[in-house]
Symmetry: C2
Subunit: 229 residues, 2 copies
């Protein structure tokens, strides 16, 4: 990778979608500065997956920011261990209890700060508006509004080098994401999508995220490499 | 304060502007949930001031979120102790080295998460577009874009209970802010604005922030209660 290549900050959770977004950014020629968050999520194995994926993809740099605030302000089954993890289908349109308040806004804001320091020209986020779980901050209109705000917020916009928010997966089905990532060489056995994976990174097979992922491999007519408990 | 009063999250740095914004929110009948950040700023005395101001104003709750990320990503004289603190006048239109990358975006995003959990209807921030130091994220167009984004990002917007970003100081001169706060009973001797205050909260009198503050008291024809080194 040339050091004169444009830089991108890439949000990487360690899940299937963000690993694919990272591969997409790299394939488009960006130097990838990868950012993960340790925000008290149940699944620390997801972060171990993020480390392994970043290393394997040979990124320019990988940083993990520790955020305690979600444990303080509460409001999500992902970080509040007293809330039950739902196992039923949540496709009734309601916002699920696994929703983390303002999560993508917070993550993109921290990515924006790093992008500004790096003089990066893009931020990649693996949000998806098709096979998603009803989170408002995965919608294209949210991303567009964030990009507008970001360029008013920073030196980047003022000095005429705007930052774009890149969402290469936003219009893809889970099956299409898996097909795209496979073409780009993503090893999905390294990714962890489960909301309650065990210490070895094995998935529960029953949470929303597991069901969406499993269906994606089925629909893509591909072997599911996920390790289940 | 009635428990049925509307709730607001109020960003409080411990400085003159945010203390005035807090008094304004309280005067407008909000239950105030006050949020401060420990982000590695040089002036920890500012946080001590925030604690004292929140206590004195009898707020509903005061939380301090510790953010390490700015020390990691760098880019500001406020958190990078190897950068020199400028003492000359910075009113030449350039963005100063005291700028913290995406600071207000990050702070407002974390406030947004808490506001969503609390079902607060407003977030107060003491930004000011008149006597400011050239930060892009203090401009009205940034605030408007953030509000639009925030209501697309959260359940609040989806469920028809939008969150507003309140900037009671945005069009006021420093002198007008001081006059307004004095009417509301703000004790400015408790506030710390200096970028490099000492352990006792005494101000340097020479940094940008000190100069703007000092001029404000002069213009308001009021005695400056600031304790200087």
């Amino acid at each position: 990778m040339s050091e004169t290549a444009p830089k991108a900050v890439v949000l990487l959770s360690g899940g299937l979608d963000s690993a694919t977004a990272l591969a997409d950014a790299a394939a488009r020629g960006y130097q990838c500065y990868v950012l993960s968050f340790d925000y008290g999520q149940r699944s620390v194995t997801e972060l171990n997956a993020a480390r392994a994926i970043a290393h394997q993809q040979g990124v320019a740099e990988h940083r993990i920011i520790r955020l305690n605030h979600l444990e303080d302000i509460g409001g999500s089954a992902l970080t509040d261990h007293s809330m039950a993890m739902p196992e039923e289908d949540s496709s009734d349109g309601a916002i699920p209890v696994t929703y983390v308040p303002a999560r993508n806004t917070v993550f993109l804001s921290l990515a924006l700060g790093w992008a500004e320091v790096l003089e990066a020209s893009a931020i990649f986020i693996g949000v998806n508006a098709v096979d998603y779980s009803g989170y408002p901050d995965c919608r294209p209109e949210f991303i567009a509004a964030f990009e507008t705000m970001a360029n008013l917020a920073t030196k980047a916009g003022v000095t005429g080098r705007p930052i774009t928010i890149e969402t290469p997966l936003i219009d893809l089905t889970k099956a299409q994401i898996i097909q795209r990532g496979t073409e780009l060489g993503v090893d999905y056995s390294m990714t962890v999508s489960c909301y309650q994976a065990d210490d070895q990174g094995r998935a529960c097979a029953v949470c929303d995220s597991c069901r969406l992922r499993k269906q994606g491999f089925d629909d893509a007519v591909m072997t599911d490499p996920t390790r289940y408990i």
